[in-house]
Amino acid sequence: MRKTYKLYIGGEFPRSESGRSYVVSAADGTPLANAVRGSRKDLRDAVRAARKAFPGWAGRTAMNRGQILYRVAELMEGRRDQFVAEVRQAEGLKPDAAANVVARAIDRWVWYAGWADKIAQVLGSSNPVAADYFNFTIPEPSGVVGVVAPEPSSLLGLVSRLAPPLVAGNAVVVLTSESRPLPAITLTEVLATSDVPGGVVNALTGRKKELVPVLANHADVDAIDVWGVPDELRRDAELAAAESVKRVARRPSGTTDARFDWLDDAASERPEWIAAYLEMKTVWHPIGV
């Protein structure tokens, strides 16, 4: 039986309101499925769902968020074979290589999940101001983050970019890999059965050329990850982001989406990727009897 791959918005799996789809092929050219071609309206719905889910997710205790994301790893483990098969088809990998990619993706959730209750300890501070004030700085999530997922790395790249804003407490709208979207949709099925509340992650498949400008222009998106934005769209996306003062997260300079080595833990496991979606709040309080 063939599977229908759909969008993931607000904890549900709708087709596009536009009724459109596009053919997704395996790395060897074999047609695999019709993926939904998400529309401008779908994206706006996704942002609305994310905004609605944000306060609840940000309001969870850090430990609770960490446990929930760890459980995503546990559930992926249970679907390991399915992910391996899909990554293999999508990326044209040998079985061992695909299995390794999936194992790294599971470990990556665990690594980032562990940060949930530590990032504030590493990035926050108590500031010895030169007066009788208690002054401290705490990180808080930015809000709604748009993630344009890496194009070639359909699962590991996606997880590596999705986990950082999530562990920080943001709600996310993801534009999946356009040419290899299927593992991402299977990941949303994992998220839907995990304890990640509906709307915290929303995923759209479709044409980046059509959707990136909408995401970058959306005034209710607080930050955008332009990692997977095609080069020819990136400058315009960042110009649009500036209009509503979005935080822009980029690839490290000198790297390319096509050749980034996601299997390199040191390159892909970075607390600064979490910090990219955090605001720092400083509190002053007088000291005196």
Binding site: G114, D117, P271, P286, V289
Partner: protein, 506 residues
């Protein structure tokens, strides 16, 4: 204190006027027993030592009994470690540290610790019931406080195992080696977690000696280690008397000593490391001041005071055992406190309604009784709510002393029981003076609605943990430990890692 509440010790609730009981009359109901089932715990008749991944008998076959302090029944026989057993455990730990655990990448150590946390969550109720049976603490505390914190602790440090470079920027954190850990009987499993989780996360292996009155949860934890496929020798557990603890910490094969217990024993352990390269942390006694200012929310403060001193029968090193109350609110506060005391339910630790369970041992009960007698003798005014105590087992009524002078033994010595000494002050400076007038410095409590005063008091307190408008809060992310003779080093949080690493240049 109204007469009605004295007559009906179980019922602090006041009846509404239309109940026909008379206005403000205490409701004459009692709580039906609500015992937690013991079926979830399968006690073995005999527990061995846990050395090198296996349960083994002590050399020479010596055993001791672990007793349920609420019933005085023997729960099980436990192998009593000999010095030779401890030597064996230290060798196993050293081997495991050098050949396996110390070389494992942090991310692999993390996986074991996450797995342990998960198993502890899965077996939470079993641990809670066993802990209450062996220690006497009420099930609602072991179930809602101890065991969840235990799992959370492993969880938190699991996440550090592969992130040590971020805890110590610019330095490389190496494990110390073998950690000798000696823990007390008041929070048997929680103290185990505080000790083992950071040690393992940083790449050390451990030999842990649980208290001789509460070894069972540690031995059940040994089973969890096996379930989690933890490599043999990484965790070793050697129950036994105090002398075995001294043998353990004095052993040349040990690189790090961690102790929680009395200041008296802490000093001996500190001396045992003198002249060696052993790293050491001590978490010792306390005589915390819980300070209530006149502008405090009194009802909230009463709850905090009760939680501060009657939590875990007062057998808590950071217990708020000295209540410092501003003179102007002494009257109403003490009245509210006595009223609240009459609602405290003392009895079967496994009853879900029990607030104060059994005192951990006969010796401890005798110590409490003796100190309370000294309070009466020295002229303090005693108050105890009228409540029935079970016929068997070791129990003590929640006790409140007023008219306490700073020179009284009950104001100076750590009682480690449900006994509160009330002193008064007039000015903030006097509160500071009295609060710090102790060789201890573990914790302090401050009750005021004025934020700037809280922070001013925080600055004055010579104590490692200061609770403001709350008391006895614990979290794996939050460092805990004392000033002065309450010990040194911190457990919990990022600071808790320091105790288990050697920092080298990159």
């Amino acid at each position: 204190m109204s007469e009605s509440a004295k007559l009906r010790p179980w019922s602090g609730d006041r009846a509404p006027a239309d109940w026909g009981l008379g206005d403000g009359q205490a409701i004459p109901w009692e709580y039906a027993p609500a015992p937690e089932s013991r079926d979830i715990v399968t006690l073995k008749s005999r527990y061995g030592l846990f050395i090198d991944g296996r349960e083994v008998a002590a050399q020479g076959g010596a055993v001791f009994e672990s007793v349920n302090p609420a019933t005085e029944e023997v729960l099980a026989e436990v192998a009593k470690a000999s010095p030779a057993d401890v030597d064996k455990a230290i060798r196993a730990a050293g081997r495991a540290q050098k050949t396996r655990w110390g070389n494992l990448p942090g991310r692999e150590r993390a996986k074991y610790l996450f797995r342990i946390a998960r198993i502890l969550q899965e077996r939470a109720r079993e641990f809670a019931v066993l802990e209450s049976m062996d220690s006497g603490k009420p099930i609602k505390e072991s179930r809602d406080v101890d065991v969840p914190l235990v799992a959370a602790h492993f969880w938190y440090y699991a996440g550090w195992a592969d992130k040590l470079e971020y805890a110590f920027p610019g330095r490389v954190a190496k494990p110390l080696g073998v950690a000798a850990q000696v823990i007390p009987w008041n929070f048997p499993l929680l103290m185990l977690a505080w000790k083992i989780a950071p040690a393992l996360a940083a790449g050390n292996t451990v030999v842990l000696k649980p208290a001789s009155t509460t070894p069972l949860s540690a031995l059940l934890f040994a089973e969890v280690c096996r379930q989690a496929d933890l490599p043999p020798g990484v965790v070793n557990i050697v129950p036994g008397p105090a002398a075995i603890g001294m043998h353990l910490v004095s052993h040349p094969g040990v690189d790090k000593v961690a102790f929680t217990g009395s200041t008296e024993v802490g000093k001996l352990i500190h001396k045992a490391t003198a002249g060696t390269d052993k790293a050491i942390t001590l978490e010792l006694g306390g005589k915390a001041a819980n300070i209530v200012f006149e502008d405090a929310a009194l009802d909230q403060a009463v709850e905090g005071i009760v939680n501060g001193i009657y939590f875990n029968q007062g057998e808590v090193c950071c217990a708020g055992s000295r209540l410092l109350v501003q003179e102007s609110v002494q009257g109403p506060l003490i009245e509210k406190l006595k009223d609240r005391l009459s609602t405290i339910r003392v009895g079967d630790p496994l009853d879900k309604n029990t607030d104060v369970g059994a005192i951990n041992s006969k010796a401890q009960l005798e110590k409490i009784t003796e100190l309370v007698a000294s309070g009466v003798e020295e002229g303090a005014e005693i108050y105890q709510p009228a409540c029935d105590l079970p016929d068997r087992g070791w129990f003590f009524r929640p006790t409140l002393f007023t008219n306490v002078a700073q020179s009284h033994r009950i104001a100076k010595e750590e009682i480690f029981g449900p006994v509160l000494s009330v002193l008064t002050f007039r000015t903030p400076d006097e509160a500071v003076e009295k609060a710090n007038n102790t060789p201890y410095g573990l914790s302090a409590g401050i009750w005021t609605e004025k934020g700037s005063r809280i922070l001013w008091m925080v600055r004055q307190m010579r104590a490692g943990v200061v609770w403001a408008n709350t008391f006895n809060r614990f979290d794996p992310t939050s460092p805990f430990g004392g000033y002065k003779e309450s010990g040194f080093g911190r457990e919990g949080g990022m600071h808790g890692l320091h105790a288990y690493v050697r920092l080298e240049r990159r």
